[in-house]
């Protein structure tokens, strides 16, 4: 899933302080799972903002809606009739949802309420970690199912570097060395000999480097 983290409320207040009718818009997908922008977080943020503006002696309307998704037209359309009641929206969706909102309702200011962090997993409640950088050309078959692009701090394709120490990365003892994990896994799969195959220079044109990407599937467009 896309993992996001809540923005500090001070930053959100700074974004919206000039507005008087504000919609806090949650998303029921990834940001709900990572507890940054679902219905519950919409409620908490809305209450905190109401309190803030009350204390400021300001009459600011704060409403709450949580959509099934903010990255699909059909769900975003659900607020078409309501959007004119507001002079600003704080979207607690990931950066994708914020932008799709802004594209669709382009005369209403939309502000981000979360920082979009990475593609990752829930290791346990309250702990999410990165697994994928969407490079567009998956190499996991060669690396025992562990990704050096997202999990090595230097995205080294032929690792580990000299900084790997007792299973940890040189940047932080709490970060696993991806290449230690790859080697352990290749060993468990009885494939350690594969370690000596040199991974070729990567084509990064399917990564961010190639510019904004799209996937177009004619077979499902009918």
């Amino acid at each position: 899933m896309i993992v996001a983290d809540k923005k500090p409320i001070e930053e959100i207040i700074e974004e919206i302080k000039g507005h008087e009718k504000i919609l806090i818009l949650g998303c029921n997908e990834c940001v709900t799972v990572c507890e940054a922008g679902g219905k519950k977080e919409v409620g908490v943020l809305a209450s905190a903002l109401r309190m803030y503006f009350l204390n400021q002696g300001r009459d600011v309307k704060i409403d709450e809606i949580t959509l099934e998704r903010q990255c699909d037209h059909e769900y975003l359309e659900e607020i078409r009739d309501a959007i004119d009641q507001y002079d600003a929206v704080v979207s607690l969706a990931c950066g994708v949802g914020v932008q799709f909102m802004a594209e669709k309702y382009h005369t209403t200011p939309v502000y981000p309420g979360v920082n979009t962090c990475f593609l990752g997993v829930t290791e346990k409640r309250g702990l999410w970690t990165e697994r994928c950088q969407a490079c567009g050309q998956c190499i996991l078959a060669r690396t025992g199912g562990i990704c050096p692009v997202s999990r090595c701090a230097k995205r080294i394709l032929n690792g580990p570097c000299g900084g790997s120490t007792q299973g940890s990365c040189e940047i932080n003892k709490e970060v696993f060395c991806a290449w230690q994990l790859i080697i352990d896994r290749l060993k468990a799969l009885n494939r350690l000999d594969d370690y000596e195959q040199i991974d070729p220079i990567k084509d990064w044109s399917t990564d961010r480097a190639g510019g904004p990407r799209k996937v177009e599937r004619e077979d499902v467009q009918q």
Partner: protein
């Protein structure tokens, strides 16, 4: 041994001499005299001088410019190049720039993570890794082509090196990793600072048993301790360096004013033992901010005078 480049370091190794290299860190400023002064301290005692490339990710004068300065002094430079800061366009471009000044040695590295340096909020590049950089230089030199496939006019003639760290984890792939670098085309290796000699000898033995030591020249890396504090720092704080407890104790048991002398003694003893290790073809003496001690270390280990080669 076949000679592939005009590199003096390559010729010395091919002639069967124990090579001696050292390194200089460029200044955190633009004064070229810093390089000249450091080089003058060691130039008669080493065959080639590495210039580090923004080591520990702290911004410094670029390695290429400092290498050119050495070249203009008539000295042999080893251009260190990390893949952290440059993509494949910039790397190839800088290789050609170095070749334009007849810099004939390159050391291919990935580089420390930028979080250690003065720009921890910066991006890193890592378009290619150190093993792929070895392949890149060999491709440019041997095929005379860019990575993109076009011909290079006057291809670079560089003797290609890399680092090896027998002490990083996991130990079991440290020799396979060396094999990978050799398969990529590396010709000389400068190792991480060696303090745990037993472990280094184990690594060399496994490499020898695999027949790797005939395919690459290993220069054993040594760094003298200036103090017990430095020994402890190396042991506890520097990733990928192992210092045996008894070595730290030996420094700790020495009165403070005698510690620099003891550090040099340990370094000399290490070199003497390393000379006996099958496959060690030379030494990379890294006297960190203590370059003035290199001549003494080289002389006391019988590695002076340096041989001359055509």
């Amino acid at each position: 041994m076949k000679i592939n480049t005009p590199s003096k370091l390559e010729k010395i190794l091919a002639a069967g001499h124990l090579a001696v290299t050292s390194e200089c860190g460029p200044p955190r400023g633009s004064d070229p005299e810093v390089i000249v002064e450091k080089a003058n301290l060691i130039k008669d005692h080493v065959d080639a001088i590495n210039i580090t490339d923004n080591q520990t990710s702290v911004t410094r004068m670029c390695s290429l410019a400092a290498c050119i300065k050495l070249k203009l002094m008539g000295l042999e430079a080893v251009l260190q190049m990390v893949t952290r800061d440059r993509n494949r366009i910039a790397l190839q471009s800088d290789i050609l720039g170095a070749a334009a000044f007849d810099i004939h040695n390159i050391l291919c590295l990935s580089g420390d993570h930028q979080s250690f340096g003065d720009c921890p909020t910066g991006q890193n590049v890592h378009d290619i890794d150190s093993i792929q950089l070895i392949q890149t230089v060999r491709h440019m030199r041997d095929e005379g082509k860019f990575l993109g496939g076009d011909d290079i006019s006057r291809p670079p003639k560089m003797f290609v090196g890399a680092a090896a760290n027998p002490f990083a984890d996991p130990f079991e792939i440290r020799v396979p990793r060396l094999a990978k670098k050799i398969a990529a085309g590396v010709e000389f290796i400068q190792t991480q600072c060696i303090y745990d000699l037993d472990k280094f000898e184990r690594w060399m033995k496994i490499a020898g048993d695999r027949g790797l030591l005939e395919k690459v020249s290993i220069l054993a890396g040594v760094t003298p301790f200036k103090s017990v504090g430095m020994a402890r720092y190396m042991k506890n704080r520097v990733p990928g360096i192992e210092v045996p407890d008894e070595m730290v104790k030996r420094m700790a048991d020495t009165p403070k004013e005698k510690q620099p002398e003891e550090g040099i003694k340990i370094c000399i003893e290490s070199i003497e033992r390393l000379k006996e290790v099958e496959g060690v073809r030379g030494f990379h003496v890294m006297a960190i901010e203590w370059e003035e001690m290199v001549p003494e270390i080289v002389e006391k280990t019988g590695l002076y005078p340096r041989p001359s080669v055509d």
